[in-house]
């Protein structure tokens, strides 16, 4: 038992690496914020674009969304990070992580929102249009609020998954929390930094999970 706590819960080790770990946590939060914002916006845009019913555009969107949802995010990041240089493009790990993870979120958001938009009853569209609302007004005030409400539970789940995926950025040399903890663990031969990192992630993610749980309730109550 003594070995366990000195190897996993060693406060001295954690303390000496705390600045790095905190810096890593900050990067994790930066990544998450950027990715969530871009992913949700682009995903919504794609779903709206799909409403235009242009055959060619739809094909592109569907292919993009399917491929991005089928491939493991880590695979996507590795291909982008190590493949782009062959095209003459050298992006930072941070940029790659942002682009890839935002694309994944966008793809899932598009699918979910598209299902939501299709579920909002046709009557809502018609009532809004027949009072003279423009397409954008109808979407913004009447349809999108209802669509998002329909998909809020699975969407919350996706947002959580995306935030967890920021840990993957450690593989492409982004100095986020896991990466820092990994390095610290390597240097110190002690697993305590990983414990600290785990706690850090849980601090960010547990509240989100609890909110997601709350979102699953109203449907059952109705």
């Amino acid at each position: 038992m003594q070995t366990f706590s000195s190897n996993f819960l060693n406060w001295d080790v954690i303390q000496s690496y705390l600045p790095d770990l905190l810096a890593g946590m900050w990067v994790t939060m930066e990544l998450s914020a950027i990715i969530l914002l871009c992913g949700l916006l682009v995903g919504t845009g794609l779903a709206l674009a799909r409403m235009a019913q242009l055959r060619l555009l739809n094909v592109f969107i569907i292919i993009f969304v399917d491929v991005v949802r089928a491939l493991p995010p880590l695979m996507l990041m590795v291909v982008t990070y190590f493949g782009l240089p062959y095209l003459g493009l050298r992006l930072t790990g941070f940029a790659v992580a942002c682009i890839v993870l935002a694309s994944v979120l966008a793809a899932f958001t598009e699918e979910l929102l598209w299902a939501g938009l299709s579920t909002v009853s046709v009557g809502q569209y018609e009532a809004a249009r027949s009072t003279g609302l423009t397409f954008l007004q109808m979407m913004g005030s009447v349809v999108l609020p209802q669509a998002f409400r329909l998909i809020q539970a699975p969407l919350a789940s996706r947002i959580i998954a995306t935030t967890k995926n920021t840990a993957l950025a450690s593989v492409v040399a982004v100095p986020e929390l896991l990466s820092q903890a990994n390095t610290a663990q390597g240097y110190s031969g002690n697993a305590s930094p990983l414990t600290a990192a785990s706690l850090g992630y849980l601090i960010i993610l547990l509240p989100m999970v609890l909110v997601a749980r709350r979102l699953e309730r109203p449907r059952e109550a109705a």
Binding site: S121, G123, Q124, E126, A127, A128, R129, S130, T131, G132, L133, T134, Q137, S141, V142, P145, Q146, R149
Partner: protein, 258 residues
């Protein structure tokens, strides 16, 4: 030169609010409207009756371009609204529509349902819109439920909110697409009363409905449709008392006594 069939009896002098000329509508190979000619005068209440599949709802929906006619013209206050250059959103302010399934926005209160288009389409300020909404909801007898959500309202109340929502924009004509078909029988009268009130106030109305008793008592003109065409039209006493076309007779007898 006034074609009685087009304009109906006794409406010679009132201006024509809505006119359909040679209206055709096909869905793929299926022809739903085959050359409809109809003129609705100011203050008239026109009832569209007919068996299901006769095209009544489609006809109504062509009037505000929720369906796009395949050919023909729809003239609102003399101007064709089918052109590509027409600002359909502004046109729709002049044409109100009440749906069978009410279609209230579930995420908004009764008041907000009414003020939405007032703010976004009629560009009223929030304060102005509120005043109008209050007045409209009061008019349909729902002033006490102004901040209720649709789920807290009965079907009849929801439909009345829908009517208020439409009236708020001060349309020249209101189209009713089976307004009471989705209501429990005891709630139907509440809505019919509001419709009677509107008619008495001089609103131009086109109603698709199965409420034959109401049609008999309230309509100025009844138009019978079958297979996408207007087969016969006339005053209620003509249509119900002395139906001429065999299709109409068949239809009326299938309804039992009215």
């Amino acid at each position: 030169m006034r074609d009685a069939a087009l304009h109906g009896p006794g409406q010679g002098r009132a201006p024509v609010i809505l006119e359909l000329q040679g209206l055709h509508k096909s869905f793929g190979l299926m022809s739903v409207l085959r050359g409809i000619n109809l003129a609705v005068h100011e203050g008239e209440m026109v009832f569209l009756i007919g068996p299901s599949g006769s095209g009544k709802s489609t006809l109504l929906r062509c009037c505000n371009r929720l369906e796009e006619p395949t050919s023909g013209a729809v003239l609102v206050e003399g101007r064709d609204i089918l052109g590509r250059k027409v600002n359909i959103n502004q046109v729709r302010r002049r044409i109100g529509m009440v749906f069978q399934s009410f279609n209230l926005y579930p995420h908004m209160t009764a008041r907000q349902n009414v003020t939405l288009a007032l703010c976004k389409v009629a560009r009223k300020s929030k304060a102005e819109a509120d005043v109008i909404a209050r007045r409209m909801l009061d008019h349909v007898g729902l002033s006490e439920r102004i901040d209720y959500y649709p789920r807290a309202l009965s079907g009849g109340q929801q439909q009345r909110v829908a009517i208020a929502r439409t009236l708020a924009l001060e349309p020249r004509i209101v189209l009713f697409d089976e307004p009471t078909s989705a209501l429990d029988p005891e709630l139907v009268n509440g809505v019919l009363n509001v419709m009677r009130m509107l008619r008495d106030e001089g609103m131009t109305m086109v109603v698709v409905s199965h409420e034959m008793r109401f049609a008999r008592e309230a309509a100025d003109r009844i138009v019978f449709m079958a297979d996408g065409e207007i087969v016969e039209q006339g005053t209620p006493s003509e249509i119900f008392g002395a139906p001429r076309h065999p299709r109409l007779r068949e239809f009326l007898s299938s309804l039992g006594t009215v």
